[in-house]
């Protein structure tokens, strides 16, 4: 229970923001940042904890987005049900891609390549298929009622995405302390050694992929509800694959808060740059690319990782080593 205190504090703090901030521009910025943080947390489950770097997480974002968009626009399905269906669709796509890739034993570069390829295939297919609106995309009809998952006030959208992020943070925390999480991390550190200790690496990776895909798909569903529009380039574009991996890498892979911290930093950099030099296309991604290179080069464990290193360094200097807990049974 104590382990969840940091999450509670952070979420509570973020929940207070709309009390002080009324500017739609700022709320919009925070909203989008949280959405990216959600997508990034999804990547973090598979990439950060599991060590399997996907370069095509757009596949899940888009699966969630298109599923809910199509269900609403073409079949009149309720938006909330559409959301759930979108998350399920994302999980299903994750199961398929993961099943194929992990059964084939793909690791590292090859895994990154195949995920990239899947995302690209989906992007091309949806850019020509009629049901996804081909080149034009899908528009959701404006219907500002709660049951349509649309809200007049931006603050409510903010609370929704914050709630989703809170769930994702809790999932990561639960993962860290569960047997599945221990096994997943072991697979990341050394797959063969993990197998020799009884870990079914393929099953574990697949499980992580499914959870990861579902979380990122939720971000895609939220995108559709907030912007009421989706097309192939947005759904399956490299932009989301990049942002989903960038945020946990910068924030700290394999940590509970890494994706959130990374999203805040990355998005602030992007907005800051635009304020200074104007909204020129390519500026934000250019900065993201540079930041990625610099972070890997100089601080590969990201911000949270670097802070943890500093903390450990400091506490080792001032605190005596911990003694084994009394009362633990001995041989």
């Amino acid at each position: 229970m104590k382990a969840f205190l940091p999450i509670a504090i952070v979420v509570a703090g973020l929940a207070c923001v709309p009390l002080f901030v009324h500017s739609n521009v700022v709320l919009n910025f925070l909203l989008v940042t949280l959405m990216i943080a959600l997508a990034g947390q999804g990547w973090n489950i598979l990439g950060g904890y599991g060590g399997q770097y996907s370069f095509g997480h757009a596949a899940f974002f888009g699966a969630g987005a298109y599923t809910t968009a199509i269900l609403q626009a073409h079949y009149g399905v309720n938006a909330w049900l559409g959301f759930v269906a979108g998350v399920a669709a994302g999980a299903a796509v994750g199961a398929i891609i993961g099943g194929l890739a992990f059964r084939a034993g793909l690791r590292s570069s090859y895994f990154a390549l195949v995920t990239l390829a899947f995302a690209e295939v989906l992007r091309i297919l949806t850019s020509v298929a009629p049901i996804t609106g081909a080149g034009v995309g899908i528009l959701i009809k404006l219907d500002l009622r709660a049951q349509s998952f649309q809200f007049q006030s931006r603050a409510i959208f903010y609370f929704v995405i914050l709630a989703l992020v809170a769930i994702a943070l809790i999932i990561a925390q639960l993962l860290e302390r569960s047997r599945f999480g221990v096994w997943l991390i072991a697979v990341r550190e050394n797959e063969d050694a993990a197998m020799a200790l009884g870990v079914d690496a393929t099953a574990v990776k697949l499980g992580a992929m499914i959870v990861s895909a579902a979380i990122t798909a939720a971000a895609g569903c939220f995108y559709v509800q907030y912007f009421l529009f989706i097309d192939a380039g947005i759904a399956y574009g490299t932009w989301i694959s990049i942002e989903a991996l960038l945020t946990p890498i910068i924030g700290g892979v394999g940590t509970v808060f890494g994706a959130l911290v990374g999203a805040l930093v990355v998005k602030s950099l992007g907005e800051g740059a635009k304020l200074v030099t104007g909204d020129v296309p390519g500026l934000d991604l250019m900065i993201y690319g540079a930041v990625l290179v610099l972070v890997i080069r100089f601080a590969p464990r990201g911000i949270v990782g670097a802070l943890a290193d500093i903390y450990a360094h400091v506490t080792r200097r001032f605190v005596a080593p911990r003694k084994p807990a009394a009362g633990v049974a001995h041989g």
């Binding site: 302390r177 569960s178 047997r179 221990v182 096994w183 991390i185 072991a186 550190e189 050394n190 063969d192 050694a193 993990a194 197998m195 020799a196 200790l197 009884g198 870990v199 079914d200 690496a201 080593p321 911990r322 084994p324 807990a325 633990v328 049974a329 001995h330 041989g331």
Partner: protein
């Protein structure tokens, strides 16, 4: 008499044109320490890889606890009770010593508290009690070897395959290690160890198999095997046995 815990029957493993293991058979009963020795490149680690599921044999069978387990994947064999260490140690470098052992402990214990307790216990038993919270990559060679052993033991195995677990240790470290191995064996585990350190083999093992060029060329007690001319030849080359005999008159 009941079938020994591990029975390897006529296992061969081919890599393209190279026959790394050639119809090798051995058996390892519970509570016994069995050694597998032989010159470099004899196929010992390959045989281990087959027994522990990392490689499929080209021919032959592996029987464990009376069942045919040939070709089962490593994690399934670990659940059955076969644990192995690696010749080149493979710690989970970024994790603490405790968390390393925890991975093994979780095999039989789903709950974190129970698994942590096991990890703590085994950590102390192999002599790593003082360093449980240090990152694994800061351990010395001797420490890493102990960690390999601890992780494998945490899975609660009945058969322990040790691949050159004593390599790289100095004589006093070996002397400290040996009783640890003997204790676990007495507890009911069958141990098969690949070793080059002859003093350890001679003092620890009750039964020895000698592998050369993929084939088992001798088997017996340490004393019998040491006196076997075929074994001397395998290590020292053709004609060496005769040379030794003539030198000693």
């Amino acid at each position: 008499m009941a079938e020994p815990l591990l029975m390897v029957e006529g296992v061969s493993r081919r890599f393209g044109g190279l026959l790394a293991v050639n119809a090798a058979s051995l058996s390892a009963p519970a509570t016994r320490i069995t050694a597998l020795i032989g010159p470099n490149g004899a196929g010992k680690t390959t045989l281990f890889a087959v027994i522990s599921g990392f490689l499929r044999p080209s021919a032959g069978r592996v029987r464990y606890a009376g069942e045919d387990v040939t070709g089962e994947p490593p994690h399934r064999l670990a659940r059955r009770g076969i644990a192995r260490t690696f010749q080149i140690v493979q710690p989970f470098a970024g994790l603490t010593v405790r968390d390393n052992i925890l991975v093994g402990a979780h095999l039989r214990h789903r709950a974190r508290a129970a698994a942590l307790a096991i990890a703590e216990e085994i950590g102390h038993e192999v002599g790593l009690g003082d360093v449980l919270d240090r990152p694994a990559h800061t351990l010395t060679v001797s420490g890493r070897k102990r960690l390999e052993l601890a992780r494998a033991l945490a899975t609660g195995p009945k058969l322990l395959l040790l691949d050159e677990v004593l390599a790289g240790l100095n004589p006093s470290e070996i002397r400290d290690f040996a009783p640890v191995i003997r204790t676990f064996c007495a507890g009911g585990i069958a141990v098969v160890m690949i070793e080059h350190v002859m003093q350890a083999v001679m003092s620890l093992a009750e039964h020895v198999y000698v592998l050369a060029e993929g084939r088992v060329i001798a088997a017996g007690s340490p004393g019998e095997v040491a006196a076997d001319p075929a074994v001397v030849e395998a290590y020292l080359g053709h004609g060496a046995a005769a040379k030794l005999r003539s030198a000693h008159g």
